[in-house]
């Protein structure tokens, strides 16, 4: 079944079509929420809320969008809501929400770099973090990110350049010998 037929079947309540949409889109939605929120429990709640909204609003899906981009749009809005909820119930900063990683002695060089990048991403302002996640991890196109965020293409490109620059600064400062 192609994606459009699958969406139509899921919209009319077909359980196997719904399961298929979840199989394809739950993992990216969870991944995005986890990297945005840096907390497994919050990410699971946000991603589940995202997928529930997706399944219950299929009739509102506009085929002019790639379906995955539409799902990320919903995930992004859900993460923004979760950020607001979190800001109300907690006073800790994003930096403090980073989960403690494994001891550096247990990690290979490659894993250490990934761990450091994960931490650097969490220190990035959400507006920069989200564009990097969408571009680098979810492989959205510049135009799709612009449409999703409702921003001009030039603004998105500038935001990605600035995000890369800032991430690099944070990352390098965290390197051994850097000024963390």
């Amino acid at each position: 079944m192609d994606e459009r037929a699958c969406i139509a079947a899921a919209a009319s309540g077909d359980p196997s079509a719904r399961a298929e949409l979840l199989r394809q889109h739950s993992a990216p939605a969870y991944r995005f929420c986890l990297r945005m929120l840096a907390n497994e429990e919050d990410a699971r709640d946000a991603a589940q809320e995202t997928m529930i909204k997706v399944l219950r609003n299929l009739d509102r899906y506009d085929p002019a969008w790639r379906f995955s981009t539409w799902v990320f749009g919903i995930a992004r809005n859900t993460c923004i809501d979760e950020h607001r909820r979190r800001a109300r119930r907690r006073t800790t900063s994003d930096v403090e929400l980073v989960e403690p990683g494994a001891s550096p002695f247990d990690l290979t060089d490659r894993e250490l770099r990934a761990e450091r990048l994960h931490e650097a991403l969490q220190r990035l302002a959400p507006m920069y973090r989200e564009v990097l996640l969408l571009y680098h991890f979810e492989q959205l196109k510049y135009r799709e990110i612009a449409d999703l965020l409702g921003l001009p293409l030039g603004t998105v490109m500038n935001r990605i350049f600035r995000a890369r620059q800032k991430l690099r600064e944070i990352y390098e400062a965290m390197e051994p010998g850097g000024q963390t």
Partner: protein
């Protein structure tokens, strides 16, 4: 597809050094060209670290929980629709009930009897008049509640209220003359 972007253009693009028009052109090209997109990503010094970041595993039972939540929500909605349907079926709109016509006849009959007795005169007149007025007051109140309130009809409500006041006055519960005095 236009020609692939040069190494120099890609580098300047990823570093944000192209002017706005050329950057937009490069972005459009990269969006349409997987090779140039991959080359642009590879130019980022953090590319190896990005590649090394593991994809988190989806928590166990994630999809099942979503499906269950969606089905619960749909069942709730279906239940709510059924409840509304039972309360007010579209084929049988609720019709307001009229107060008993017998009560009306009794009240009116008693008033008529009271009028006859008033002509004849005597002590029973006042008693019968009060009984008749009491029944009328009950009937008017019932009519007011069952007809005027649901329909929000201001003139009917005013008329019913005046009739009720008149009946109560007849019962001497409200005596306009006493208030004026």
């Amino acid at each position: 597809m236009t020609q692939h972007l040069s190494e120099e253009t890609l580098r300047r693009f990823t570093e944000g050094h192209l002017d706005e028009r050329r950057a937009a052109e490069a972005a459009e090209h990269i969006d349409a060209c997987p090779q140039c997109a991959a080359r642009a990503v590879a130019l980022d010094p953090l590319a190896p670290a990005f590649a090394a970041m593991p994809d988190p595993e989806l928590p166990e039972g994630f999809d099942a929980a979503v499906l269950a939540a969606v089905e619960r929500a749909e069942a709730r909605e279906a239940g709510a629709v059924a409840e509304v349907g039972e309360a007010a079926p579209a084929s049988a709109p609720a019709i307001p009930q009229h107060p008993s016509f017998g009560l009306f006849l009794t009240g009116s009959g008693l008033i008529a009897a009271a009028l006859v007795l008033m002509v004849v005169g005597g002590a029973p007149t006042a008693l019968l008049w009060k009984l008749a007025a009491l029944l009328r007051a009950v009937w008017v109140a019932a009519a007011f509640v069952l007809h005027c309130l649901p329909a929000s009809s201001a003139p009917l409500a005013l008329g019913a209220a005046l009739a009720l006041v008149g009946s109560l006055a007849a019962l001497r519960l409200i005596d306009p003359r006493r208030e004026i005095a």
